[in-house]
């Protein structure tokens, strides 16, 4: 009779477990080799929540790439920021912009195969417009009321006219989720197994680790080229570099420019840089020395933006003169704020300042939150010193920046990155510079009188012309210091075809294997 003691049992079971584990590992490697149609992206942020309309993730533009893979938006965007149909094929105002009319496409289906209806769209707009549901921008969607469906046409009343409302339909929180499914599974159920009508369906979600998506065969925009897409959430830049360099991922982004330059020279890898809709800028606050126009103008003229971009950012940035970049609506290339250190010194001299007797103030910045943020500010402080500005650097966390900005208590100068992927001047210059806005630090009546009426201007040509005037005025008065347009570095395997998107999207549905 076979007898086994405790030690023998442990040996046998331990050996079996080890063999099985090793076998499974080998199988995984083999299986991986067979998965030809999988795209693996080492993404820099995890998906914190699958409800794209509430909480902080709803207002984080950097999560849009993943959300847009699963959820359709009312309106979609081309890589140059122009708009194209999403779930809406037509949209616009009627009756002197007191009403809206939208047409819902008739070939869209939810991931469970049910059709997307006009009633579904209305439910979404009403849900996100109700502040009780936690949307941070409920006030935008709440500006539309009495929404009614007639077939696939939606009509409604404009409660508060917002010229950029339809652009917002391709922006933050403007994702459409299936009402029947959400009501069936509830918020918690939706977090576990989200559903949309986008090009990919969520197959497996390991919170904080990865999301595996499967191509939606019924997608109205055509089935994506990759059957499977994996977004691995790799938050550390060094780990993302290792992911692409070791071949574990096919594509990654948001890596240090030094690493980008090194990797793009490696065989089998391709580097793509795209100037995106984010800009680096320095807010001026209307306090202390910044009330002196000569000081502000000198602070702007003394900064050599090209040198900062070339030397600190290795050329990956585009110097800008206004808060608008060339891809935004209302961009005016004729507005210039040239680098002129001698002119800056002369202006400071008029106000009684010199290198020996400098004007002093504080400049606030984050350190490591954005690429080279602290180094850029150090360089600017050095440039200012040469003309007679002595700025003391204060490093703070981004949370403190938001708090101080909302309270209008920022230092006379503060570094920030402003994102505006819909490219409308209202969502950049207006909210950044309009005094009553919680995002603005400059607060003077002259500028508010120019910007205020533009929020409700119904004539689009007049509105855009108005913003051009605002930008010129801001540049002349030096109310802000625009620095450079950010550039997104993307590294991918040469077996892929990838094109950059000005809105900073990395959309798997737009990536194809090289034929």
């Amino acid at each position: 009779m076979f007898e086994m003691d405790r030690r023998g049992f442990l040996h046998i079971t331990g050996g079996a477990a080890a063999s099985a584990a090793l076998g499974s590992l080998l199988f995984s490697t083999e299986a991986a080799a067979q998965m030809g149609k999988t795209l693996t992206v080492a993404y820099h942020l995890p998906v914190p929540s699958w409800d794209p309309t509430t909480g902080l993730s709803a207002v984080n533009p950097q999560l849009m790439s993943i959300y847009k893979s699963v959820f359709d938006q009312y309106v979609d965007q081309n890589p140059d920021l122009s708009f194209k149909p999403g779930l809406l094929t037509e949209w616009g105002w009627t009756d002197n912009k007191t009403k809206v009319r939208m047409k819902v496409r008739d070939d869209a289906k939810w991931h469970d195969g049910k059709p997307v209806t006009a009633a579904d769209i209305i439910w979404n707009l009403q849900r996100v417009g109700d502040q009780k549901n936690g949307s941070p921008v409920a006030f935008i969607w709440g500006s539309l009321t009495n929404l009614k469906a007639d077939g696939n046409v939606i009509t409604g009343d404009v409660k508060v006219f917002m010229p950029d409302i339809f652009k917002w339909m391709g922006f933050l929180t403007a994702y459409v989720i299936p009402p029947h499914y959400y009501q069936q599974v509830g918020k918690a159920g939706f977090e576990k197994k989200p559903m949309g009508s986008g090009p990919f369906m969520v197959e497996e979600f390991q919170r904080g680790s990865f999301v595996r998506l499967k191509a939606n065969p019924n997608y109205w925009g055509g089935k994506p080229a990759f059957e499977t897409v994996v977004f691995k959430f790799v938050t550390d830049p060094a780990a993302r570099v290792a992911e692409i360099e070791s071949g574990r991922s096919d594509l990654t982004l948001n890596i240090p420019f030094e690493e980008f330059d090194r990797l793009k020279r490696k065989k089998g890898l391709v580097g793509v840089t795209t100037p995106v809709s984010d800009i680096a800028m320095i807010f001026f606050n209307d306090v202390g020395p910044m009330l002196d126009e000569n000081v502000r103008k000198a602070a702007v003229m003394a900064v050599n933006k090209k040198a900062i971009v070339d030397r600190l950012l290795r050329g990956y940035g585009v110097p800008i003169d206004t808060l608008l970049v060339p891809q935004y609506t209302g961009y005016d290339a004729s507005i210039k704020t040239p680098y002129d250190p001698k002119g800056a010194a002369a202006l400071l001299a008029k106000s009684g300042y010199s290198r020996k007797k400098p004007v002093t103030f504080k400049i606030q910045t984050t350190r490591g939150y954005l690429a080279k943020d602290y180094e850029v500010i150090q360089a600017i402080v050095g440039m200012w010193r040469r003309v007679g500005i002595q700025a003391e650097i204060e490093v703070y966390e981004i949370a403190k920046h938001f708090e101080l900005r909302a309270q209008d208590k920022l230092a006379p100068a503060a570094f920030y990155n402003w994102g505006n992927s819909i490219g409308d001047p209202a969502t950049s210059v207006a909210h950044a510079m309009f005094g009553p806005s919680p995002h603005s630090t400059w607060d003077t009546k002259d500028l508010d009188a120019m910007i205020g009426p533009l929020f409700a201007e119904k004539d689009e040509a007049k509105r855009i012309e108005g913003y051009k005037k605002v930008n010129r005025y801001i540049a002349e008065k030096a109310y802000v210091l625009p620095l450079y347009q950010q550039v997104q570095p993307v590294i991918h395997k040469d077996s892929l075809v990838f094109k950059g998107h000005v809105a900073n999207f990395v959309l798997p549905q737009a990536i194809k294997p090289k034929s």
Partner: protein, 336 residues
């Protein structure tokens, strides 16, 4: 160790937790950073901002907020995360098993490495391997856990260990509908060895990063205790009996030298959990350490409060376990 002692310790935990809850609540209201300021979209009016404050109960006075917070806590409600709009208790309990498994793996690795180094150092006492052991433990200790993490990532790239994952917790090629978040344990119970292997591989580098500095500390303390034990009479008796040197060190002296090491390991466990904050971030390991960083950056007050309280409960539980382990290791303490 009597039941009365255990009950006394558990009762003492209550004021400790209340103290932690009060301190973290007050501190979070003092430090700069407004969660609502991070949420508000462009174009929000003061009325819109006020509505958001009301939604999260931040429009109330500090005392009101505290009373509400304590009332909810007593009912086991940690509140709703501001940044994630999800139940804090669910979020924390979802991530806690991940960190616990990682820390336990790190402890096991640290004990194995540290124990081996200590025994080897004592076995070859006075000879060159002892100097080697001291040198290695000194070197390991000089490098903090997060730096080990970055070094491992670098090694993976340089030496192209293609099978060694550097991010996440489970291979994306595996489908596993888990019932709990204790994947390691659950996969073993359900005989899913593919999951077990994948989870083990994914935790190898983060666990090693956490374990190495601790292993050096264990090696030093254990070696010192072992050296002291080697001078005791029972060791002399064992020598006289003709026991081999390795048996004397590893079996006779080791058990008596373990108590200080267990104390140290218990204390260091708390530091280990603290170390997960950076290491989990570097390896994108989805535990509570990783979550804590995001919660602090986003000033997610309910989530930070929930995480700190969880850490506190964890520390109390570990200390209790350490006290209980004394009784197992040293019979003289069982009735002390």
């Amino acid at each position: 160790m009597s039941l009365g002692f255990l009950l006394r310790r558990l009762l003492l935990a209550i004021p400790t937790l209340v103290g932690v809850a009060v301190i973290v609540f007050v501190l979070l209201r003092i430090v700069p950073g407004d969660p609502i300021a991070m949420l508000i979209g462009p174009g929000a009016t003061p009325a819109d901002i006020q509505k958001l404050r009301e939604l999260y109960g931040l429009d109330r006075g500090l005392l009101d907020q505290f009373v509400l917070y304590v009332g909810d806590l007593i009912q086991g409600d940690f509140g709703v995360s501001i940044s994630l709009r999800q139940d804090v208790m669910e979020l924390v309990l979802g991530r806690l098993p991940i960190t616990l498994e990682l820390c336990l793996a790190a402890i096991v690795i640290a004990i194995l490495i540290g124990g081996t180094l200590a025994v080897a150092g004592v076995y070859w006492r006075g000879r060159w391997p002892e100097a080697g052991v001291d040198g290695v433990s000194g070197f390991i200790l000089a490098i903090p856990d997060f730096l080990w993490a970055l070094l491992f990532i670098l090694f993976v790239v340089i030496f192209a260990f293609s099978g060694l994952p550097i991010s996440g917790r489970l291979s994306h090629e595996i489908r596993f509908d888990a019932l709990t978040n204790f994947y390691l344990l659950e996969s073993l119970v359900r005989l899913r060895f593919d999951v077990f292997g994948s989870v083990l591989l994914h935790m190898l580098l983060p666990a090693l990063s956490l374990a190495l500095p601790l292993s050096a500390i264990i090696a030093r303390v254990l070696k010192s205790s072992l050296n002291e034990a080697m001078t005791q009479d029972y060791v002399l008796l064992a020598r006289v009996k003709g026991f081999s040197r390795i048996r004397i060190v590893a079996r006779e002296a080791l058990r008596n030298a373990l108590v200080p090491t267990v104390t140290l390991t218990g204390v260091q466990f708390t530091f280990l959990v603290g170390g997960t904050v950076l290491v989990e971030k570097i390896f994108s390991y989805p535990g509570i350490g990783n979550m804590a960083i995001d919660a602090v950056i986003n000033r997610d007050l309910p989530l930070i409060q929930g995480l700190v309280l969880t850490f506190a409960v964890l520390f109390i539980a570990v200390n209790l376990l350490v006290d209980m382990s004394y009784a197992v290791l040293n019979p003289r303490m069982r009735h002390g």
